[in-house]
């Protein structure tokens, strides 16, 4: 937007490169540590023979729970993403298209806004008691339910924005031609908001994969997710720095994959609220 020439352009490029470097450098440095033996990490050496010991230890050793944590996380993130897309998209369509009274719609939306703004830990206490009561404490089902709820506000708002952008005439024409309401939703509205579904799905998956404060308190050893495992690695009495680095890097892989393939959708999802 600005026109930068000569030295001011050079300064701008330098600043921008510095910014990108500062964002990438920690990641690269930790990745470097993950290929070192413990002793080399402690010596802070820069010249070393790379080893896959830390990754092998985390992924294959008998005493490591990490593969189990990964499977738990995949199950939780996968199921909660699918469920939140179904529940959230239906709700968004209902609120955006069907004849609700304004007051009811705004109460619903205001409530999701408040719920999204309060720290989740305020509700983890009662969740803990309720889940113990009904036998969901320490189960994957319990964690999945909480993650659906946590991601619901975001999904509803995003999908509502996409539905609001569709021209009503298409759906009205389909109704006149004799389509049922379900058919209008399923065959006409839903295919048109596919980019929104992908964006919301990618973000819901990532947020569920990353979620820590709820998983920490509602899982036990058998159902712990990846973030809980990373925290355990970092908080052990005798910290194993190599494994800590390796698990951190491994836990970032889904984010990197989604960034590589779904970047357009991620950017769309993250910025649309602000642009609208």
């Amino acid at each position: 937007m600005l026109r930068l020439r000569g030295s001011s352009r050079a300064a701008g490029v330098a600043l921008l490169s510095l910014g990108v470097f500062i964002i990438l450098a920690p990641f690269l440095w930790v990745m470097l540590q993950s290929f070192k033996y413990e002793i080399e990490i402690l010596q802070g050496s820069w010249l070393f023979k790379p080893t896959l010991f830390n990754y092998a230890d985390v992924l294959y050793s008998r005493r490591s729970d990490f593969p189990k944590n990964v499977i738990n996380s995949l199950i939780v993130a996968g199921f909660s993403t699918v469920c939140v897309l179904v529940v959230g998209t239906l709700a968004a369509y209902s609120l955006s298209r069907l004849p609700w009274r304004r007051r009811i719609a705004s109460i619903f939306l205001a409530w999701t806004l408040i719920f999204n703004a309060i720290p989740p830990l305020t509700l983890v206490g009662p969740w803990y008691l309720i889940f113990r009561e009904v036998g969901l404490y320490g189960t994957l089902v319990g964690i999945i339910l909480t993650h659906i709820t946590l991601n619901l506000p975001m999904t509803v708002w995003m999908m509502m924005a996409y539905f609001n952008d569709l021209p009503r005439e298409i759906e009205e024409a389909a109704r006149v031609d004799g389509c049922r309401r379900i058919e209008v939703f399923w065959c006409i509205a839903l295919p048109l908001v596919r980019p929104g579904l992908i964006a919301a799905g990618v973000l819901a998956f990532v947020f569920s994969w990353n979620e820590f404060s709820v998983a920490l308190n509602l899982t036990d050893r058998a159902t712990a997710t990846v973030p809980v495992a990373i925290a355990r690695f970092a908080q052990q009495y005798e910290v194993q720095y190599g494994q800590m680095a390796a698990t951190s890097i491994l836990s970032t892989i889904p984010a990197l994959i989604l960034m590589a393939f779904g970047q357009r959708f991620v950017v769309q999802g993250l910025t649309m609220g602000a642009v609208k």
Binding site: L2, R3, L4, S8, G12, L15, L16, S17, G19, V20, I23, L24, F27, V30, L42, G44, V87, L90, A91, S94, P99, W100, T112, I114, A117, P119, L121, T122, L123, V124, G125, P126, W127, Y128, I130, L145, L152, R181, W209, F212, S213, V226, P227, I230, A231, A234, Y241, M244, A245, S251, T252, A255, L256, L258, V266, V267, L270, T271, A274, V275
Partner: protein, 314 residues
């Protein structure tokens, strides 16, 4: 609206198919309700009902004996605790400090990067891809990465510090620096998010106005401060509000990096709540704290809505 003959009902079909047809008819007629019901049920069961539970818990003392809860009704006791809880006040203060510092720094850096990236077109795509990484990373992994980098003995930051000839810095272990170190991690984590929002907004600015200003002889600084920033006010307000809300919820990185220490220098609201609930097992008092925090959040939202509306209007 004319009803089309239902395929299932029109054909003389088996009774089960006819019943199915009637069921889909009913669903279709009430689709408005059916579509909203799952979300509403979920919110009632997992947000409204727990919040009502908080009310009951806040008026009680809950002890655990042989894995069973023992409730006793003591409405005044928790309130008394809350009024004399210096640690909670410290946590509130630290959280406010943390949020103010990190949001302010992130807004300035994010705006700078956004304007630069939109002016230097060569790097646009690469800058954006690189900057998305921190947003998508697990906050816990970020905490553990920075814990390694902040390490007094072998962390890269102290390698740089000693390389430059200064003494090694106790990043997370000294009471004066710890909160700043936590803010630094947050700045690394969330500046890209502010950048993304503001970058989209900068790209959406009307080019004609900026061109016209340039014709009239406005320099780059004048364009930024007199034209861009005033036009970006709604986006700036939204970004700041988003970040303030998220900063108030901060938990993961602080839990990993300092666990609130040294002393109480990085004790934040969520962390304190976690300790009261799950380390001290004071579920009743924790519930009262939760209610206080929820009330504070709602009050903040009401004020913030007024503020952002005012900022966007003028």
């Amino acid at each position: 609206m004319t009803e089309k003959p239902r395929t299932a009902a029109a054909r003389p079909a088996a009774p089960s198919a006819r019943r199915m047809g009637r069921l889909t008819d009913a669903i279709d007629r009430h689709f408005q309700w059916v579509a909203l019901a799952p979300a509403a049920l979920l919110l009632v069961a997992l947000t409204i009902y727990p919040m009502l539970n908080l009310l009951g818990m806040a008026a009680s003392t809950i002890r655990f004996e042989r894995a069973r809860e023992i409730w006793s009704f003591t409405p005044g006791a928790n309130l008394d605790l809350l009024l004399h809880d210096g640690l909670f006040r410290t946590a509130l203060w630290n959280t406010a400090l943390f949020a103010a510092a990190s949001v302010a720094i992130e807004m300035v850096l994010g705006l700078m990067l956004a304007i630069l990236a939109s002016s230097i077109t060569a790097f646009k795509g690469f800058v954006r891809s690189a900057l998305i990484i921190p947003i998508l990373m697990p906050p816990v992994a970020i905490g553990s990465m920075w814990k390694l980098m902040y390490s007094y003995d072998f962390g890269v930051l102290n390698q740089i510090a000693t390389g430059l000839g200064s003494a090694p810095v106790n990043w997370t272990g000294s009471t004066s620096l710890a909160l700043m170190s936590v803010v630094l991690v947050d700045v690394w984590h969330w500046t890209p998010f502010v950048f993304l929002i503001l970058f989209a907004a900068v790209e959406g600015l009307p080019k004609e106005i900026i061109e016209a200003a340039r014709m009239d002889g406005a320099g780059n600084l004048a364009i930024v401060f007199r034209i861009m920033i005033p036009l970006l006010r709604p986006a700036l307000a939204v970004a700041a509000l988003f970040r303030a809300i998220l900063a108030f919820k901060v938990f993961d990185q602080v839990f990993l990096l300092t666990s609130g220490g040294p002393g109480t220098s990085t004790e934040v609201v969520s962390l304190y709540l976690f300790k009261v609930f799950f380390q001290q097992n004071q579920l009743g008092y924790g519930a009262l704290l939760s209610l206080a925090i929820i009330a504070a959040t709602v009050a903040f939202l009401l004020v913030a809505r007024r503020l952002t509306a005012a900022v966007s209007r003028t």
